[in-house]
């Protein structure tokens, strides 16, 4: 599809977002803000053990507490068949999903849900939890992928068998899947190399860290229909998953998207919704559930810690001759780490002949992982981009130049096979090299060692299904209805796209994020897909509305629709120069012209444009304390077409900040019993505004040929390079390579001492 380098009137500008006033006045309704008359409050009892058989649960004392209306355990939920099932684009395992939200025979992580209580106040519900008696048989916890994969390891799931191996084994295992991408001749490649670098890396489990804990309010009606209000990234997913887990008809569940306080992938599944629904059915009252921060950290999906071995070889002239990586990712208690995506993204920025990528999805006694912004890519990039940096140094090449020599471009085959269409990776390298940041000399900081590092990253982005309608109001304004919960300003982008097509100003379009009864199927807000795919649906729906407007004008003027053009919000007749009307004028006459105008579209677009990022970090390190300060950070990214540049910058700022936290201080700290010790924001250390500098962004627009406006997803790739960029900067500051995440002060000091 041809993309015109068009002169956009609305796209590329920075209007105030439509939901902005509600959000700055406190009026916006997030899931926890919702209250219904007669509502009960429910809380969850969670396993104090990392691995245990549940021998018995006695809920009688809890049930007897005044104010308690219902107590449920895993045995109250339907038994589901084992095995994976297709659910739209996703493959899910309903039985594992159900066991995750309420355990049956085994507690598989500290925080695993064991029982739930609904009561007249949240305080009473909490008191009731203390009255539930559970008998556990404590089992040894498995807390690291290497231990989980070792011979004789304690097995978490007795029915689990490794998939993906050429020969099926019936051996009990903690390895759920083995993924491999390979091509060329690895051995020959390494032989041909003038320099080879190999390292092992160990990264800790980290959490998305959204400020809003999970919530759900459910109301089950006597006629079998129910409504769930929830802060979620995917209303249709919530509906499907609740229907599966509770064995209810999908069409009977209406999911209403409350405003959502952050997700980053972590709110694409269900934890509380099925429980709230089930309790509402049991008590015949609405039920509200909110997680505490401890519950969010212990019992919702963080992303994988990992163990990685990476080896890359290159010739003197800078050409990479062989690249190999072995990665084991923590899935948590049930299979489903993002190791597959890690494998697909890891060497993707480079044109490689000889490569082998092995990824292992490994269960451990930690919470079941869930998507976290470019899931799987950051771990892998930390390893690969560090090794590349060392190779560049060995070959005396500038690290950006080294990447340019090997850089992927249109036609390059990705590690997973498909060839790239038009992409902007080389442009990001060029822009980074020419940036004021890269050209400037490192500042001197008294008492500290300074260094600069670079790294690149890739994320494939997603398409998937979206629906949209565009309706014309009587005054010539328009409504845009989509089913994509807005986590970063996407409803404004959707309004802007419709405005562009209709020739309106952004503020003349009302974007609505609708519930599952009011809009067609729409896949999750995630995968950097909303502006691309839902935007595509909006574009198509707006075009359909334009077509209908031309038909209405043709009716009024008694000409053929082919004789009517629509341009910049004005319909005019090509055969009779006198006839023209503004959209506003036409909108007031629609009833006589054939009827109301609503354009609708349902898409599953194939032309997804992937994203590349190159980032530069300047760090200052106190060599006595190991404390790292980020002095300066520049993030360059190919963004396709920035519909609302402020929110594109915002995505980059946010992803970079999460990457910096991941690099420096964030980790799940477990004791030897598998208990997470830092399950709060005090000791799960995310960056505060005092820990970050202003983050410079450079937006490169290489239009995605697969989209009418050239849009690429932008939200995820920014989180991929930061840990490697910072590690490479630390190397230049200190002379040591750090290969564990986080690169916290004790580790920095230890590395410095070992160097001496």
């Amino acid at each position: 599809m041809e993309v015109q380098e068009a002169k956009f009137k609305v796209i590329g500008t920075r209007p105030i977002r439509h939901d902005g006033v509600d959000k700055v006045t406190g009026r916006a309704r997030y899931g926890a803000d919702i209250s219904l008359p007669g509502m009960l409050h429910a809380k969850v009892l969670r396993s104090p053990h990392a691995h245990a058989r549940i021998k018995s649960i006695d809920t009688s004392a809890a049930q007897a507490l005044p104010g308690v209306k219902a107590v449920i355990t895993g045995n109250d939920l339907p038994d589901l068949a084992a095995g994976a099932q297709q659910m739209g684009e996703m493959v899910i395992n309903p039985r594992y999903l159900s066991l995750n939200i309420l355990a049956k025979d085994k507690a598989l992580y500290n925080g695993h849900a064991i029982a739930a209580v609904a009561a007249t106040s949240p305080h009473i519900a909490e008191e009731a939890l203390n009255l539930i008696k559970v008998e556990y048989e404590v089992l040894p916890p498995v807390l690291h992928v290497n231990k989980a994969m070792a011979a004789g390891a304690t097995i978490l799931l007795s029915e689990l068998r490794t998939s993906g191996e050429p020969e099926k084994s019936d051996q009990e295992t903690n390895v759920a899947t083995h993924v491999r991408f390979a091509r060329g001749d690895l051995e020959a490649g390494f032989k041909a190399a003038d320099a080879v670098v190999e390292h092992e890396f160990d990264t800790s489990m980290v959490h998305q860290g959204y400020i809003e804990p999970h919530n759900a309010v459910a109301q089950y009606n006597a006629d079998g229909h129910s409504t769930v209000w929830v802060s979620t990234q995917g209303t249709f997913s919530v509906r499907e998953l609740c229907a599966h887990i509770l064995q209810m008809p999908v069409g009977n569940i209406k999911v209403v998207p409350a405003e959502i306080g952050g997700g980053f992938g972590g709110k694409t599944t269900v934890y509380l919704e099925p429980l709230a629904l089930f309790l509402s059915k049991k008590t015949a009252k609405p039920v509200k559930m909110i997680m505490s921060r401890t519950e969010v950290l212990k019992a919702t999906g963080p992303t994988s810690g990992s163990f990685i071995r990476c080896k890359i070889g290159a010739k003197k002239d800078g050409t990479i001759t062989a690249a190999q990586i072995w990665m084991a990712y923590e899935a948590g208690a049930f299979p489903g780490s993002p190791v597959g995506a890690g494998c697909m993204t890891v060497f993707a920025p480079y044109a490689l002949e000889n490569l082998q990528i092995d990824g292992y999805d490994v269960v451990v006694n930690k919470p079941k992982t869930c998507a976290y912004r470019a899931p799987g890519a950051t771990n892998a990039a930390f390893a690969a981009e560090t090794v590349l940096d060392e190779l560049a140094e060995k070959l005396s090449l500038d690290p950006l130049e080294f990447r340019r020599i090997n850089g992927a471009k249109e036609g390059t085959a990705q590690p997973a096979g498909p060839q790239f269409r038009r992409i902007g990776f080389l442009e990001t390298l060029e822009a980074a090299k020419n940036s004021e940041h890269y050209k400037s000399s490192l500042p001197k900081v008294a008492g500290k060692l300074v260094g600069r590092g670079v790294a690149s990253g890739f994320w494939f982005n997603a398409g998937f299904q979206s629906s949209a309608t565009v309706s014309i109001n009587g005054d010539g304004t328009a409504n845009v209805v989509t089913g994509s919960p807005d986590i970063g300003g996407s409803r404004a982008s959707c309004a802007m796209i419709a405005a562009e097509v209709l020739g309106l100003k952004a503020e003349q379009v009302n974007p609505v994020v609708a519930d599952t009864d009011s809009i067609g199927h729409t896949d999750v807000t995630g995968g950097s897909r909303v502006t691309f795919a839902t935007g595509y649906a909006v574009y198509d729906a707006a075009q359909s509305a334009v077509k209908q407007l031309r038909e209405r004008a043709a009716t009024l003027w008694k000409v053929k629709p082919e004789d009517v053009v629509y341009q910049d919000g004005v319909v005019s007749c090509t055969t009779n120069g006198q006839e023209s009307m503004s959209l506003k004028q036409l909108a007031g006459r629609l009833a006589r012209a054939g009827g109301p105008v609503t354009g609708s579209a349902a898409v599953n677009p194939r032309g997804v444009g992937p994203a590349f990022a190159t980032q530069i970090a300047d760090v200052a390190v106190d060599p006595e304390t190991g404390k790292v300060d980020i002095l300066r950070f520049t993030a360059v990214q190919d963004v396709g077409k920035a519909v609302h540049p402020s929110y594109v910058e915002g995505q980059i700022h946010g992803g970079v900040s999460q990457g910096i936290g991941w690099a420096l201080n964030e980790e799940y700290y477990y004791d030897e019993n598998g208990i997470m010790r830092n399950s709060g924001f005090l000791d799960y250390r995310m960056p505060t505004c005092l820990d970050l500098p202003m983050i410079e962004t450079v937006l490169i627009e290489v239009a995605n040929p697969g989209h009418p406006i050239g849009i690429r997803g932008v939200g995820e790739v920014p989180i991929v390079p930061p840990p490697a960029a910072i590690a490479n900067a630390l190397y230049r500051a200190l002379g040591v390579r750090l290969t564990e995440l986080p690169m916290s002060p004790p580790k920095v000091v230890k590395a410095l001492m070992e160097k001496k």
């Binding site: 305080h123 203390n130 010790r677 005090l682 505060t688 820990d691 002060p745 004790p746 000091v749 230890k750």
Partner: protein, 289 residues
């Protein structure tokens, strides 16, 4: 949280008789920045919460050149930070009070609450210890005095008996050419609990140190008075050599653990680093007095 009753006595007598009645079932409330978290976690389960903020004796902030400082237990960190006398005469204690958490926390928390919470990692004890602070404890039976370094007995436990309230701190007036300093190490730039905290107060006569006290936090089951480290400075010129000796002596008495905030080796290392830095800074301030 379990249910409890809330009392807000307006006088010290009222408060003391309340505590005499409820004993162990009662707990004092000042800033609430520790106790509410502990009650939510079920770690503490008082049946009566006694809000002490309205009691005038606990809000005293007064300096006398002869008798020194009287600091009420409930005086908030923000009040201390904004007080010119505190900044001038006790900059280390002021720093310590000013490092307890964010602006939101500092607007509520108090030095008294910080000490009574009994955490070995608290920020104010090393500064209080360095200054030779005395803690005045009152009950219906009368008052008694406990040295700051003796106040915390083990993590979460203090010398306070049922019925007792900490009402104020008394700190001697700084002699000429004396000052104090408190520094702590945290991985971020704010918000964290100290990985290691060191407070020092020194008095100089020319280049010679005539008095020194060093307090350590977060490196043992309680905050510590580093006696040998302090004595390593006294009677000697304050230079790199004597400071290094003090740092080494401080490291010797530290018995840190490995936990989610730092490793044993790292904390021991940091005792040395911070002792050097804090003593140097305290000396620099003392020279300018």
């Amino acid at each position: 949280m379990q249910a409890f009753t809330y009392e807000a006595p307006q006088s010290l007598d009222q408060a003391l008789s309340l505590f005499a009645n409820v004993g162990e079932k009662g707990r004092a409330l000042i800033g609430g920045t520790d106790i509410l978290i502990q009650m939510r976690a079920g770690v503490r389960r008082p049946e009566v919460i006694v809000d002490l903020k309205s009691i005038p004796e606990l809000q005293i902030l007064a300096f006398d050149p002869q008798t020194g400082l009287r600091l009420g237990a409930a005086v908030s960190s923000c009040r201390i930070m904004e007080d010119k006398m505190m900044q001038d005469k006790y900059p280390g204690l002021t720093e310590a009070a000013g490092l307890i958490g964010s602006v939101q926390i500092k607007n509520r928390c108090s030095v008294g609450g910080n000490l009574c919470n009994g955490s070995p990692a608290a920020d104010t004890p090393p500064a209080l210890i360095a200054l030779g602070a005395e803690c005045i404890i009152a009950s219906a039976k009368g008052t008694r005095t406990v040295k700051a370094e003796d106040f915390i007995l083990s993590p979460g436990r203090t010398v306070l008996q049922p019925g007792e309230i900490l009402i104020e701190f008394r700190i001697p007036a700084p002699k000429p050419h004396s000052s104090d300093c408190y520094q702590r190490f945290i991985p971020r730039n704010e918000m964290d609990i100290a990985v290691v905290g060191v407070g020092a107060a020194v008095t100089l006569n020319g280049d010679t140190c005539t008095a020194a006290r060093i307090g350590l936090g977060a490196v043992a089951a309680t905050p510590l008075l580093a006696k040998a480290a302090s004595e390593a400075l006294v009677g000697k010129p304050l230079n790199d050599q004597s400071i290094a000796a003090a740092a080494a002596a401080a490291q010797k008495i530290a018995t840190p653990i490995t936990d989610m905030r730092g490793t044993e080796e790292y904390r021991t290392h940091m005792v040395g680093v911070l002792t050097r830095r804090v003593v140097k800074e305290a000396a620099e301030r003392a020279r300018n007095k």
